[in-house]
């Protein structure tokens, strides 16, 4: 008796499913008007006859647009939408999830949404938008054939990024002066003021952005971390490591034997691996971790590494840092 294989089912699966865009129209879609244009991070001016309304966006960029009331029809993320810090607490109902892994976007599903705009950060170093960089699945790159791609340039400041998406949202019809949006922006400005004041009261305080790992300790290079550049701009002395890895200049690598190469007063801990107990755990696990005086003194705080896009998120993270700076002893590392 041979087992009958469900060939029909297999064949059906291999068929491309026709677009069944069952997306309910979001409540505050701005009325399409035109013509529309926006200057992309690459410098190119992208034009359309009418204002785009069906937007597919990368995770953080989607969060930025949503903070101004523009709801995309589809989102692609680099990790699970449950863990992506940008999407935490956001209501994603009615938004198609088109990918939850770097370099993999379900372009067929994206096409079925009939998008008229794709939004992803522009990375000047790679001359590509998020999701379309070198190294992603070739299939993912077809996303750019569905609609024009725009994004704000990732570079020297998170503030620039937030302002850029504010401008994009405005061009798409968002009322950026609405009271709740204005309040969120005001909150951010207050957070910056408080941060600056806290830093000013501790003129000798130095901070080091770190990410300990099992085989090495990594020290972040502010040159490639816009949020660290912002902190420096606002007066915090974030240490620039003197020997970034030439092949991957985001970090300087320290062997665990050299964990104490820098002696900051405050450790900014990579938020992707920070937990409340991390410092004690690493002290137990790595014989030299507590040779860093700040670690020994438990002067550690989470740093929002490489993901911020919105005023709201930045404000919340800044408040945490301000508290830590106020509590820090500026002579720990000396």
């Amino acid at each position: 008796m041979r087992i009958w294989r469900p060939i029909v089912a297999a064949a059906a699966l291999s068929l491309t499913l026709a677009g069944c865009g069952s997306t309910d129209t979001p409540e505050t879609t701005p009325t399409s008007a035109g013509p529309w244009q926006f200057t992309d991070g690459s410098g190119e001016v992208v034009k359309a006859d009418k204002t785009p309304t069906r937007i597919i966006a990368h995770a953080g960029e989607a969060a930025a647009l949503m903070s101004f009331g523009i709801k995309p029809v589809g989102v692609y993320a680099d990790e699970s939408v449950k863990t992506d810090p940008n999407l935490k607490g956001l209501d994603l109902t009615g938004i198609e999830i088109l990918g939850e892994e770097w370099g993999k976007i379900d372009v067929e599903k994206a096409a079925s949404l009939r998008p008229d705009l794709i939004v992803g950060d522009y990375w000047p170093a790679e001359k590509a938008h998020s999701g379309l960089e070198e190294g992603v699945d070739e299939k993912s790159k077809k996303l750019k054939e569905l609609a024009p791609v725009v994004g704000v340039s990732q570079g020297k400041s998170i503030v620039d990024l937030a302002e850029g998406y504010e401008a994009l949202a405005k061009s798409l019809g968002a009322k950026v002066d609405a009271p709740e949006i204005a309040a969120s922006k005001k909150k951010f400005e207050d957070a910056v003021t408080a941060f600056k004041a806290a830093v000013a009261s501790k003129p000798n305080l130095t901070a080091l952005a770190m990410s300990p790992a099992d085989d090495k300790v990594y020290v972040a290079n502010p040159e490639f971390a816009p949020e660290l550049l912002d902190f420096q701009k606002w007066g915090l002395k974030v240490v620039n490591p003197d020997k970034p890895d030439p092949g991957f200049p985001y970090w300087e690598n320290l062997s665990w034997e050299n964990a104490d190469k820098y002696q900051p007063d405050l450790i900014l801990w990579d938020g992707r691996s920070y937990t409340d107990t991390a410092n004690a755990e690493w002290g137990k696990k790595q014989p030299t971790w507590f040779a860093i005086k700040a670690a020994k003194a438990d002067a550690v705080v989470s740093w929002p590494a490489y993901w911020l896009h919105t005023y709201g998120h930045f404000a919340a993270e800044l408040d945490k840092l301000t508290t830590a700076i106020k509590a820090a002893d500026e002579n720990v590392g000396s």
């Binding site: 099992d214 300087e252 062997s255 665990w256």
Partner: protein, 342 residues
């Protein structure tokens, strides 16, 4: 000069040669304790070793808590990989066999990511046991698949089964890692062989297995000599071929499994050092095994020292150094040496 006098002369020289290798290994081990990515003066190292500086200084910590366990682990793991490679080449009569083709590395990796994703295990100290179990199970699976059919586990069937299991485990690992960032981060630490970040608990965890495996391997020499004559001849000489093969595989699984669990997959030593040993000793496994056991840790520790000194203030994984330095050496052996038939 007849061949018997050559043999006799050779045997005369091999014993002292082994002793000389022991001395060299001791010197390299001392080098591994005194040299590293941190610059510590010789007098500080010596004071730390004899416990005269008990002030909790970082020099003391680095020397005693980091370099000493690292060096001991390097010696044990190096010896284990060299011997496992030699035994495997002997039992499969395949001069290019190394523990990788037995599914050891892929099995260990698959179990590490399974432990991380399914059981939420964290920390090197815990997941080495999963790696160990995975390596052993993969080897058993390869052996079981190869044993199907009439002639039992022939070298060809072993190579095929090894390739199949490696591919299967590999896709399992990739599938999990693609959807789990944590697993990817843990695996990244573990995917290139390295002696960094392994301290006393890992050393004491795997040392018993490695020591037992090394001692047991030395008992395989005669049997491997018999197998080298071909299976029929070995049977004619009264050897129980199946039993020999199973015992040899058990030794390889324990040695390579524990070594890989502790340090990740380290290439090159298990493949090349046995050839070096054969080049010195000739075809007698009773010499090849102890020579491999001493030569491998010398090679591994030297590569590790290089990796720690050239990339200050960071360090290079020993697996990377071996890959870079090992490739030309291997090509040289193949081209100019006599890649002696195992």
């Amino acid at each position: 000069m007849s061949s018997s006098t050559v043999r006799a002369r050779r045997a005369l020289a091999l014993g002292p040669g082994l002793a000389a290798l022991g001395v060299i290994l001791a010197l390299v081990a001392f080098g591994s304790i005194t040299l590293g990515s941190r610059d510590i003066g010789l007098s500080d190292v010596l004071r730390a070793l004899v416990g005269l500086d008990g002030d909790g200084s970082i020099e003391h910590t680095v020397t005693v808590d980091m370099r000493v366990p690292r060096t001991l682990l390097g010696i044990l793991v190096g010896a284990a990989l060299g011997v496992a490679g030699a035994v495997l080449q002997g039992v499969t009569r395949n001069p290019l066999a190394d523990t990788g083709i037995m599914g050891v590395n892929s099995g260990a990796a698959a179990f590490v990511v399974l432990a991380i994703t399914v059981l939420g295990v964290r920390g090197v100290g815990v997941y080495i046991w999963f790696a160990f179990a995975g390596a052993i199970l993969a080897t058993l699976l390869v052996y079981a698949i190869a044993s199907l059919g009439r002639e039992g586990a022939t070298p060809v069937k072993l190579a095929l089964a090894g390739a199949a299991v490696t591919a299967g485990m590999g896709s399992l690992t990739t599938g999990i890692v693609m959807t789990n960032v944590d697993a990817l981060n843990e695996l990244r630490f573990w995917q290139v062989g390295s002696l960094a970040g392994r301290y006393a608990p890992i050393l004491t965890g795997v040392a018993p297995f490695l020591i037992v495996g090394l001692v047991a391997s030395l008992a395989c020499g005669r049997a491997l000599n018999g197998l080298a004559l071909g299976e029929d001849t070995a049977r004619g000489l009264g050897q129980r071929v199946g039993l020999t093969r199973a015992a040899a595989f058990a030794v390889v699984a324990v040695l390579a499994g524990a070594a890989t669990a502790a340090c990740g997959p380290i290439v090159f030593v298990g493949l090349v050092v046995p050839h070096l040993a054969r080049f010195i000793c000739g075809p007698d496994y009773r010499w090849i095994l102890p020579y491999s056991m001493l030569l491998s840790p010398i090679v591994l520790l030297l590569a590790d020292i290089v990796g720690r000194v050239v990339a200050r203030p960071g360090e290079l994984q020993v697996g990377v150094v071996l890959g870079v330095l090992g490739a030309p050496v291997f090509i040289g052996i193949v081209r100019y040496g006599r890649l002696s038939e195992a």
